[in-house]
Amino acid sequence: MKINRRDFLKTTAATSLFFAGFGLPSFASQNKKNLVVIMLEGGMDGLCAVPIRGDKNFKKLRSEINLKKTLKLTSDFDLHPALENFKTLWDQNTASVFHATSIPYTGRSHFEGQDMMMSGGRVPYQENTGWLGRGMKLAGLKGNGLAMSLPMPLLIRGVPLNNNYFPINSSLPQKRLLNIIAEEFDQYSEKDLSETLSIIRNRDLNYFPGTNASTLALEAGKLLSDPNGPRVAVFKVDKFDTHAAQGGENGAHADCLKEYDQILKALKASLGSTFKDTLILTLTEFGRTVKQNGGKGTEHGYGTAVLMAGGLIKKSEVHGDWPGLKKKDLFEGRDLNSTMDARSIYASAMSTVFDLDFKRIQKDVFFGDKLENLSGKLFRA
């Protein structure tokens, strides 16, 4: 896919920033770096994806939804067997975990939580832009965002001219008609519409690969590996809200983790050599209760895990300060605690991928909130 607009935009953005006197990271001398965020909606259970080893209390609290078979990560942590592609990357030092972390939200409502995981704020519904959008804006990355969905998610709002890809199961009108419309857009000086239409005209108009997660990931990987293509892609996997039949190896939570794992696999394949310059992070609104409920599921909780993959990962490691699972260690006596504001991870990721000063991100993207710079610890510069 050829996207002329981006070339144009990159030049204009570069030019305007140059004249504005800002330093601009030089892309000429290094490869383009990409950031992929996979939103796990419904509340991903970090304790199910990356369970603690040898904690008798944990096993007791989850007697009916324990994993009988796991993949081993470290002496302290296991991995859910549905995450086999993640494990392959782990073995290659290109996947890691940040455990016992959360966005700063303890209200346990999906709607508020999803709003805040995308806005990066501390109050629900207060922001109209997303942390990723603001980060891209700070980096001058106009026209570099790609959402694998029809609506533009709040997460990348805040920077103009984002692209999206979510094919419709119907053919587009013939090229001849699109050309007639394009001429008319030009005659009416509809510049923005014209540019968007030129993107559309460069798409394969009769190609409907489907909209399941791994198909979208294959397409996203192709676009991200284009040196002139987008630098940011956003996915969504939902149905993590397993109040019942959460299950162990083959339950409802396993299905969702598998979908995430398939996205990883497809991205790895389609990114090709670009994988080494890419960071793939998960984002969720909250974790789930330590104790199983009456429906063999779990309730809305707090602390969870962030799964990280890609060539920009420093090394395979489970990061974080483990708070323990004894009743007194739990948040409000029921949830895994969070010992790291997850926004520190995202701010550090943007600092690494967008070559931005961490403090500027902290100030301009995350409202000057107290965050920790983890760039050197988690990622390769």
Binding site: P124, Y125, N162, D192, I199, A244, G247, G295
Partner: protein, 470 residues
């Protein structure tokens, strides 16, 4: 000038007469709120919540318990519960009622403003209540208020079960209230903040965190009624056991404790200068341009003030301004309004007829025709009851022009040729609607002549820059 019919409405259909005085045509639609035009079944909000919603709410737990060992059976259990409570049908019925006001009513201008206010007071999607009640809330709480005062509209919306639930006011509990005596409980500021930020005075009024907190105290006690057998599907009530005792101060003014506090605060909020400015800005942005000017807003602000916030007067002022600036600004139409204008001009068989919709029985599986309005609007990326945030859908052009959203317009103009009537499938028909709805028909007809087939004319016309805007 003819784009005015689409700017404030949905255009002039092929069988309608062209009004000789466009401004009078529009202004005459704003004094009364006539009965809904839809001839089929119109379920009451009470039925939706206390019968269907309640069943969904109460039985959800039983399904979880019953199928906890098997994720496949659990899914089947939930699908069956959805079917028994009509979840897949109601949104399409509501859209049919809504779209008929745009397509066939005698007051399309009022309909376009109804859509505006429903979006201004948007309900966040996804909760069980939203699935059953967002449509009825827009019909029963918002629409009848369109010829009342803004103050009454705000009050009725604020104490509606839809908004109380959407913005969690049931969780807003006075820390010194009776109910917090033995259990630690406190306020939830969501509803209070949005009442200020989104519904009335906007952040331009420079309220402080303390104003939000104090308003939240005023609002404590307003909650969804609850009973063991009905859960939270009982009507909204003011429960003084949850109300924070003592005086509260918002914007420097003190309010007494009790039920009346909310009405008193709202009275002051709607009379705040920033509220008038905010409403005028939003109306201009919806009808005229992304960036309204002060001159544009002035007559609307004045009408608001002079009439004590009487909505017909505010609406008339906004329509007059839209008329005055008609040739100067063309507003990019959001997907739903674009679709309805296309449906009206091309005389689609839209929405599904009342006879067919009434064939649906709760508990049975809805046919595709019973679900089409929902699929259509979701496919367009603009399902009006599906707002992700309480600020509703955007009125900015940039939010509606992503590649996929423009692709939807190209594809829908093509695929909905299926909904045209065969008697209309000729160039004469398209020429006629162009003459009725555009000031420069020759130019557009020349453009349409590039089409080889009738359906191609439809694609070209409804993706023409002059049609995308109004």
């Amino acid at each position: 000038m003819k784009n005015f019919f689409r700017k404030v409405g949905f255009g002039i259909g092929p069988n309608e007469e062209l009004p000789s005085d466009p401004l009078a045509w529009a202004l005459n639609q704003l004094d009364d709120v006539p009965d809904l035009t839809w001839k089929g079944r119109i379920p009451s909000g009470k039925e939706m919540i206390e019968v269907h919603g309640r069943k969904r709410r109460v039985e959800e737990k039983k399904v979880r318990e019953k199928y906890k060992n098997d994720k496949k059976l659990l899914k089947i259990g939930f699908d069956r519960l959805d079917q028994e409570t009509g979840v897949d049908f109601w949104p399409s019925l509501e859209l049919s009622i809504r779209h008929t006001e745009a397509m066939d009513s005698t007051s399309p201008v009022l309909a376009k403003l109804w859509f505006f206010w429903a979006n201004h007071f948007a309900i966040v999607e996804g909760s069980f209540r939203a699935q059953f009640y967002t449509g009825p809330y827009e019909r029963e709480i918002i629409r009848p208020n369109l010829n009342q005062s803004f103050e009454k509209l705000v009050y009725d919306v604020t104490i509606s079960s839809a908004m109380i639930h959407s913005l969690n006011n049931s969780d807003n509990i006075g820390p010194k209230s009776k109910s917090a005596k033995n259990k630690k409980r406190t306020i939830n500021e969501n509803h209070a903040r949005e009442l200020l930020e989104l519904h009335t005075v906007s952040p331009a009024s420079e309220y402080t965190q303390e104003d939000i907190t104090q308003l939240a105290y005023v609002m404590t006690g307003w909650r969804l009624g609850w009973s063991k057998s009905a859960k939270d599907t009982m009507p909204v009530e003011f429960d003084k056991d949850y109300h924070q005792p003592g005086k509260k101060t918002v914007f420097g003014k003190t309010y007494k404790s009790g039920k009346k506090g909310l009405a008193n605060v709202i009275k002051d909020l709607v009379n705040h200068p920033n509220c008038r400015d905010f409403i005028a800005t939003k109306l201009c942005r919806y009808l005229i341009t992304d960036n309204p000017t002060e001159e544009m807003k002035r007559p609307i602000i004045k009408a608001f003030k002079d009439s004590d916030g009487f909505l017909p007067e505010i609406h008339k002022a906004a329509i007059r301004v839209a008329f005055e600036y008609n040739d100067q600004y063309q507003k990019f139409q959001n997907p739903e309004n674009w679709f309805l204008q296309m449906a009206k001009l091309a005389d689609f068989s839209w929405p599904t007829s009342p006879t067919i919709m009434d064939l649906y029985e709760v508990g049975k599986k809805p046919q595709l025709v019973h679900k089409r309005p929902l699929f259509t609007l979701q496919g367009l990326g603009h399902f009006p009851y599906g707002s992700k945030q309480p600020n509703g859908f955007s009125d900015f052009e940039v939010d509606w022009t992503s590649p996929e959203l423009l692709i939807r317009r190209l594809v829908y103009a093509k695929d909905f040729f299926e909904f045209t009537k065969s008697k209309n499938n000729n160039f004469k028909f398209y020429k006629n609607i162009v003459k009725k709805n555009f000031d420069n028909p020759e130019r557009i007809i020349k453009y349409l002549e590039k089409a080889n087939k009738h359906y191609e004319a439809q694609i070209l016309l409804f993706n023409h820059p002059e049609f995308l805007r109004a």
